[in-house]
């Protein structure tokens, strides 16, 4: 036996975490791993995985002294009334006790897997065009909903944000790896900013700046101020869940300077910018208490029986402190709690335990934050121009009876809780709470227009065909978000592929090799109506409105044969001017085993209205990337493909500058594209 063969055979693997995989599979599109209490049902494989996660890394209860910084606004108007400190701690402890086992937290304490977790922000694409008046299509009148003629050709093209990013909601900017402001373009690679002058014939790098204790950065720009958001890399941060928010002045692009450096103990789930206001949604899971585990295995610890270990762990939870539960920020003068306990509302018990904080600040004062919190973990954040919506739940537990047979998995309907917040500058206040049946795939599945929240949900059932999708409209009534109308039965047995919301209608695709593309009349929110369904091969993962009654659909074409299935990236051009009879005008199919990255990350897509050209990166079978330039002319599509040097799709971006030049960022290279 040679050494490699020997290594193959000897390499120790643990038992397959089957239950965990199935559960995460169901929760694939959720930002945050958040499962309800499993009681004693956790399979052995999961428990084994938790041992690794939970043991040894706990912070000691006697951490640095934590004091509260004053909060500008504590605003709760709805039913989730903030409680007293004592009541909040009691809630954390009581609910925590239901989640603790002889191996530590029995659930919810696990930080989600990287690949299973990108969900909330960018995982799937569908997007939003409501109140998007600034697109190149010119003036689009404010929706007056009912009674208005439904005409797809009146819809403008979806434009880009002021900093060049293909965003969900115009007016609400999203962090990305490259941003432009006037003649300055900035990109970030992990912790290093590179600043370019893009006024000349070619982009010229004028400076770089490495951000300390920082990694996985993305940036936002407001005026000459840059805000970088990333992971906290400080070796003293042993939890490895913290985040850093760096503010950098670009007043002199040749000499950028860090003006503020704030470390947060929790993980950023979502970041959005409205003008000069930045809002972060951050999540902390269950605290890392110094749990023991049954059966030994940890060096230096005695061997405990299950009973002993459970008793010790329960005691740790019963004696836990608010400082262990509530997140902290550090502006350079030590860790401080930024949520007063009476600014933290207790969520319904169905929401997984943890702490979510909504932190807002003005870019000129990144240390003066407004913050409110929830005593639970949220999954998805969607921000319209006026409201923030956080959702939690919607696990598709219903039809699994094979692995678990406890009460929790007996076909209980899956529900998603939605928390609505009013936005006012950097402040947020909670105004209403609602629940919908089914799961909400991602932020693109939600859209608000004219005070109506529209959501696309997928509901699973106990019986074949297992699942179908619905469009639900919700309105705020007092302190509740109440269902106004719904349309069910979309894509029976299929997965929701992409959604694009317009003021008066929606385009929804579900996928299972064939792609029914549904058009839905939303003029009367109380009665969403199915207008049409176009059956086409392949499926869409991203829709982009091009204006003039045209919609581009990006996705995959799957064929079977030979030694397996064959996936090819595909782009289609749809005529949506007649919503009861949508037509596919043209389709182009790319090489085998290609994937259009816009489907996973809409920031990988740019529509250039002046050129009638769409740009998106495409992953090929070898892992290399190419840039697809798709020209739209007279109802046809023309494809030009160019090679890229980087193999990292998140490092390929294109954008149109205010001066009309088109920038390509290909890893560390920034060039102008000739179109």
């Amino acid at each position: 036996m040679t050494d490699l063969e020997d290594a193959w055979d000897r390499y120790p693997t643990t038992a397959a975490p089957v239950a965990d995989i199935m559960r995460k599979g169901r929760q694939m599109n959720r930002a945050r791993l958040a499962r309800p209490a499993l009681g004693g049902l956790v399979a052995a494989g999961v428990a084994a995985a938790l041992v690794v996660t939970m043991s040894g890394g706990g912070s000691t209860p006697t951490g640095p002294a934590v004091t509260a910084v004053p909060i500008q606004v504590a605003a709760f108007k709805a039913d989730l009334k903030p409680t007293s400190c004592a009541q909040l701690l009691k809630t954390f402890r009581q609910r925590g006790l239901k989640n603790v086992s002889a191996w530590g937290w029995s659930n919810g304490g696990v930080v989600p897997l990287a690949a299973a977790n990108a969900g909330g922000e960018f995982f799937r694409a569908s997007a939003d065009l409501a109140h998007n008046f600034a697109g190149s299509g010119g003036i689009f009148p404010q929706a007056t909903s009912v009674g208005k003629n439904l005409n797809g050709s009146l819809q403008p093209a979806q434009g880009n944000s002021a900093t060049g990013t293909n965003v969900q909601e115009l007016g609400v900017d999203e962090p990305d790896s490259v941003k432009a402001n006037g003649s300055v373009l900035v990109r970030i690679d992990d912790n290093t900013l590179a600043i370019y002058d893009v006024a000349g014939d070619a982009p010229k790098r004028v400076s770089t700046l490495a951000l300390p204790y920082f990694s996985n950065g993305q940036i936002l720009i407001s005026g000459s101020t840059l805000v970088a958001i990333g992971s906290d890399n400080n070796p003293l941060n042993t939890q490895h869940t913290g985040s850093r928010v760096e503010t950098v002045s670009l007043s002199n692009p040749a000499a950028p300077t860090i003006t503020s450096d704030v470390a947060y103990s929790s993980t950023i789930t979502s970041a959005r910018q409205h003008g000069s206001d930045i809002r972060l949604v951050m999540t902390s899971g269950l605290p890392a208490l110094p749990f023991v585990q049954s059966g030994g295995g940890t060096p230096g610890q005695p061997t405990y029986t299950v009973k002993q270990a459970r008793a010790i762990n329960r005691k740790l939870v019963a004696e836990s402190t608010l400082a262990q539960w509530l997140p902290t920020m550090d502006t350079g003068s030590g860790s401080k709690q930024y949520l007063n306990c009476d600014d933290v509302a207790v969520t319904p018990a169905s929401v997984p335990l943890g702490t979510t904080s909504v932190v807002g600040f003005e870019v000129s004062a990144p240390t003066a934050v407004s913050a409110i919190g929830l005593s639970g973990q949220i999954d998805t954040a969607y921000e319209s121009t006026d409201h923030l919506y956080l959702t939690s739940g919607g696990t598709q537990l219903g039809y699994c009876s094979c692995l678990y047979n406890g009460p929790f998995f007996g076909g209980k309907a899956n529900k998603t809780a939605i928390f609505q917040f009013d936005l006012n500058g950097d402040q947020a206040s909670h105004v209403a709470t609602g629940t919908v049946n089914g799961s909400i795939a991602d932020r693109y599945s939600m859209d608000e227009v004219g005070g109506v929240l529209r959501v696309a949900t997928t509901t699973s059932t106990d019986t074949t065909p297992y699942q179908s999708s619905s469009v639900i409209t919700l309105k705020q009534v007092g302190q509740s978000l109440k269902q106004d109308g719904r349309l069910d039965g979309l894509g029976k047995g299929e997965t929701l592929g992409a959604t694009r919301w317009f003021d008066d209608f929606a385009v929804v695709s579900t996928s299972n090799n064939i792609d029914p593309l549904y058009t839905i009349d939303l003029r009367n929110p109380a009665h969403p109506k199915l207008l049409g369904a176009l059956q086409i091969p392949g499926f869409s993962t991203y829709f982009h409105p091009l204006g003039n009654g045209l919609l581009m659909g990006l996705g995959q074409n799957t064929t079977f044969g030979g030694s397996g299935e064959m996936n090819k990236a595909q782009a289609g051009l749809f005529d949506i001017s007649n919503l009861t009879n949508v037509k596919r005008l043209a389709v182009i199919t790319m090489r085998p085993w290609t994937t259009l990255n816009a489907g996973n990350d809409p920031h990988a897509f740019t529509w250039l209205p002046d050129h009638n050209v769409a740009l998106t990166s495409v992953s090929t079978s070898t892992g290399s990337l190419v840039l697809d330039e798709i020209k739209v002319a007279n109802g046809t599509l023309h494809l030009t493909v160019a090679n890229l040097t980087t193999t990292d799709p998140s490092m390929v971006r294109t954008m149109e500058l205010p001066n009309g030049k088109v920038v390509l960022m290909d890893g560390g290279k920034v060039t102008f594209l000739g179109l």
Partner: protein, 167 residues
């Protein structure tokens, strides 16, 4: 048998090989299980498609390679795996680390293309056609790439001659 049972069985069966393949393709021990898990989570979501595929294994290993690639591009919203923390190592991770280190040193002598072929064809024991489908290359290329890779590894005494059968 329903979908869930079917998939659970599939996961339990493929798990050890997927983890080993991830290690042999360059993943550290703590990453390897994450990657195998992420791959299987992705496959769960597309189980209808995986099942419909003539060849499940080709599909799953394709997904594994994609996951390995995307794992290397970290983005800020992706959290680190807690298993990565050195102070949380328990059990036999030291053995896993030692083996993985040795494997990585050996595999480094190959190009990434060669590594893929060796791992899929030689260690995972996919067929030539499956390997070709996973990598999106002709079967002939699998064959020639494999023989060059085996030769390179044998020259470094990491593998016995494949064709010669002498050990």
């Amino acid at each position: 048998m329903n979908d869930e049972d079917d998939y659970a069985e599939f996961v339990a069966e493929r798990w050890p090989t997927l983890v080993r393949a991830a290690v042999f393709l360059g993943a550290a021990p703590h990453e390897a299980e994450d990657i195998a898990q992420a791959t299987l989570v992705l496959c769960y979501r597309k189980w209808d498609r995986v099942r419909a595929a003539d060849d499940r294994d080709a599909y799953v290993y394709r997904m594994l390679l994609n996951t390995l690639r995307s794992d290397r591009r970290s983005a800020w919203w992706r959290k680190r795996s807690p298993q990565a923390l050195p102070d949380q190592a328990v059990g036999d991770t030291s053995e896993a680390t030692a083996i993985a280190d040795a494997v990585h040193r050996a595999m480094e002598t190959l190009t990434p293309d060669q590594q893929h072929v060796v791992v899929l064809r030689y260690f995972v024991q996919l067929t030539e056609a499956q390997t070709a489908a996973v990598l999106g290359i002709p079967a002939g290329t699998v064959k020639s790439r494999l023989s060059r890779s085996i030769a390179a590894l044998s020259a470094n005494h990491h593998l016995a001659e494949f064709a010669g059968g002498s050990r």
